[in-house]
Amino acid sequence: MTMKNYVSLEFPAIAENVEFARVAVACFASQIDSFTLEEIDDIKLVVSEAVSNTVLHSYSVSGGIIRLSVMRDGGTLTVTVEDFGKGIEDVDQAKEPAFTTDPDRMGMGFTIMEALSDELRVSSVPGEGVKVEIKKIPHGTAKDSDEQEV
């Protein structure tokens, strides 16, 4: 039988919630037994990058909302990070490596997300927000049962 499950959360776009978001998604993802611990770490990193991007760039004033959805459909995990802020004028440019105006930032967020996801879709309507959809499929072997309990 194909297992389906999902969780949807909304929270303020503030830095304190970045850790919460990645831990919540990692916890949900661990329901898929065939994800290795390294793949769960990859999922945490991808979510951290996506939510950090939203906190940093989506809203000009505080009080903006992030909607985080995570869905399991069989062995596929789909994570959606959505905001309702400024949007991105040029998504392709934003995804270029090292595209940043801040000297203390890497500009590698989308590059890392693309490298560690099986599928990454970014869509935006300027003035309405950004939607990032990430798909992750287990590629490793089933986890060791002792490690699974950690």
Binding site: V18, E19, D41, L45, R105, M106, T111
Partner: protein, 115 residues
């Protein structure tokens, strides 16, 4: 995230523990900047990352920023014994091709003082 710092001669040793992300990166940056400002003779930073549980590009950005500051004065940042997750992110981002990575503090120390 916790940091322990000590200065030996021209070397600032920073031991980072915990998670380095958008929320914790500013305090990490502040600690390192305060040490660099208070110790103007420091030319190199040894960044011990064996106890880093998680780092993302926000954390890497702070490391890159300190690297730029020291390189402009002929110094360097050396990463010591990164955790597997940290090593993966350093390599994925390309930062491992810019900043030296050593397996031990002794090895990094020798590199930083030119032994």
């Amino acid at each position: 995230m916790k940091t322990e710092v000590r200065v030996i001669g021209r070397v600032l040793i920073v031991h980072i523990r915990g998670e380095l992300d958008l929320n914790t990166a500013p305090s990490f940056r502040s600690v390192v900047e305060q040490q660099l400002d208070a110790n103007p003779d420091v030319t190199n930073i040894l960044l011990v990352m064996s106890d880093v549980d998680f780092i993302d590009s926000s954390g890497l950005g702070v490391i890159l920023g300190r690297y730029k500051r020291l390189r402009s004065h002929g110094g360097n940042v050396i990463v010591v014994a990164p955790s597997p997750q940290a090593r993966k992110v350093l390599e994925l981002s390309g930062l491992a091709g810019i900043i030296p990575i050593c397996d031990t503090e002794d090895e990094a120390w020798a590199k930083s003082v030119g032994v």
